[in-house]
Symmetry: C2
Subunit: 444 residues, 2 copies
Amino acid sequence: MKALVIAAGEGKRFRAGGFKGPKPLYPLLGLSLIERTIFGLREAGVDEIVLVLGYQQDEIRQYLEERGDLGVKIQVVVHPGWSAGNGTSVLAAQQFLREEPSFLLTMADHIVSQDVFKQLTANLPGPGEVLVGADFNLACRPDLREATKITVADNNRVVDIGKEIKEFSAVDCGVFHATPALFAALAEAQARGRYTLSDGIRVLAGRGRAFACSIGDAWWIDVDQPEDAKRARKLLLGQLPSPRDGLVARYLNRKLSVPLTGRLAQTGCTPNHVSLFTAFLCALSAVSFVFGSFLWGGLLAQIASILDGVDGELARLKYLRSHFGELFDSILDRYSDGVVLIGMAVGTYLQNSSPWVLVLGAAALLGAPMSMLMKEKFRSATGRTYLPAEEGPWVNLLLGNRDGRLFVVMLSGVLHVPLVGLTILALTSHLLVLVRFNLMRRQM
Amino acid sequence: MKALVIAAGEGKRFRAGGFKGPKPLYPLLGLSLIERTIFGLREAGVDEIVLVLGYQQDEIRQYLEERGDLGVKIQVVVHPGWSAGNGTSVLAAQQFLREEPSFLLTMADHIVSQDVFKQLTANLPGPGEVLVGADFNLACRPDLREATKITVADNNRVVDIGKEIKEFSAVDCGVFHATPALFAALAEAQARGRYTLSDGIRVLAGRGRAFACSIGDAWWIDVDQPEDAKRARKLLLGQLPSPRDGLVARYLNRKLSVPLTGRLAQTGCTPNHVSLFTAFLCALSAVSFVFGSFLWGGLLAQIASILDGVDGELARLKYLRSHFGELFDSILDRYSDGVVLIGMAVGTYLQNSSPWVLVLGAAALLGAPMSMLMKEKFRSATGRTYLPAEEGPWVNLLLGNRDGRLFVVMLSGVLHVPLVGLTILALTSHLLVLVRFNLMRRQM
């Protein structure tokens, strides 16, 4: 699927905020606004982007050239007449899109949740129609005065669109699923001296050819001023926690890992770097246990557990996810778990040479990978993701996921009761297998 | 998708073989011929079967009623005039299929490889057409005299069909993808006094509406005589080995497990029974190691390794596969592996109390689940099955899969060198992780 991205405007108010370059290059959590738009579209299944540039087009072109391959074909259209109105910028891309059955249309300075793209790609405009991404949650919009409003009839038909209309039920989120009919509509509007994209949509609305496509609760931000970028930053970070999180991850680790990810995103640090460093901390934790420093063993394990979220967060935040990265991280995690448990068992055995320590250590080591094994097997067998959070509070309290296991390691290290920790780890990991067998059976 | 199954004929020659009941009830590896046809169609995506009965229809109905829910809706049509010809039996089902765009058609006494159904469902007949499953491997057919031959033109069009034609390029394998036009063609043939299914197909062929759909190298058998059932048995068992097998499984275990599965198929033994018994043997192996009987420890592990194939074979052979069975088996296997390794380490430590034994045991225990973990993660990330057999002979020689690991356990037990065994298991499992990281990276 193709997409049209408009990055031609000047963004006057934004410059007033102190940033020198063109607004699409404004950095937000390690990626420029335009990169976020490009990567978001790529993730939504777009394989070719027509990019219309105008104001400071040289800087943007040079920047994108330096970034190299962004995983999607980019066709640049330079539009010297951009200042007349954003409708003229859309029209400038006509020759590259007039053969498409439909295409996405968005603005480089709009940061949107991936769900917005999902909604708009899931719905197809009919021939000659355009779908307008519509946000009906008006109460949540802080910038209603600046927003482009839309009046929507019962059958989702757009009746009117514009910044100044009085009666409206939604606002336009800046993402559209359009057909080439939009170009003819824009040309018609321009012939009457009206040059914005809304003017073109209004022409189609007048013929009953513009429809609202609700984006539900998905968020979006038109980055007009530096404060908007701050809000976008907060929203981007806020969506990092995973629905697969266990209790400790949800209520403790994520509170620390997400802000850390926000900082690391602005550096060149990659998810694989973080995975490796996390594994190194686990090895250090094991060594501490072996040398009898249970406090450090426990603390390092908990720090590793917090960092364990960061690689995935960084990958999602900067669109760096890869199958190999996922495999690398999960195998490294299993090794790290094993090494920490072996360290705990050896350290405990050196202080208390009961053979029971070895039995407990072996049982804990045997149980540690089972949680992940069952989840992966469930996913590969059914094609669905198994969500531990849905196992209910009692199962969650078993702390059988990785966050829980490392939390038990931390507590038993800090409280200097490693034998208790090993016992809990050995028992709960196998108990979780039994419980999960039952829960999974019902879902299979 | 619907299917029409003809189970109306008498099967005279078959009765001469000594079997008393109606031929569709003849048992083949634990399932009657008709059940194999029903389950094969179900696996091919059929959700409703129209079943035409004639000769000894009471026995067949009663049998099917006793079997309960077969996982697919079955509509029985009793056709008292079955003896006139199999075309009349097909026509008897007309009222249940005339609204379908297309449907599969086959005979209850034809045992076919699942690939035959795959080929015929993958190709759709055009309106008014019929696709005839065609076997072009004439050299491999032992029963060419009895077969229904077809003459096929260059564009796959069927020119003629019948038992007696002289010039032919393929034989009809007894599976068709038909449209309701077949009913009109049969009625037309019957009006001219011709009552077989081939007569109906010939009417369509005369109008250029019958096409051959090659079944490639897939096998099929028309079970006319008891010898045919023997051949079917051999072919069904021959397809049980999995492409995911490691070296030891391929060249040793399957040679023993497949005949065993052939015997167990005729009992009430389920795949989960076998999985549990296999795990029990592994526990016995571990106990033997702990008590110093390394020979028995090794032998029991190898027997478990052979049985490890049987549960899957039985499930495939009797259409008993389930997501839960897969999960149950794979988690039980991981426990079994762990228990055997712990048993080996403890037994060795009791004879030679070097701390290195414990280190090697822990390393082997840590490495054991990695092979499966990587394969599952690969499958869930990419949607493709990772095939260890394609890793090349050198990687296969690492014996890093379960069959290989248990073979090493067997050898080191029988040769009474458990420390060597533990060392090999510890080293190769981690070496395999490194090698596989590289191989998987290229495929992701």
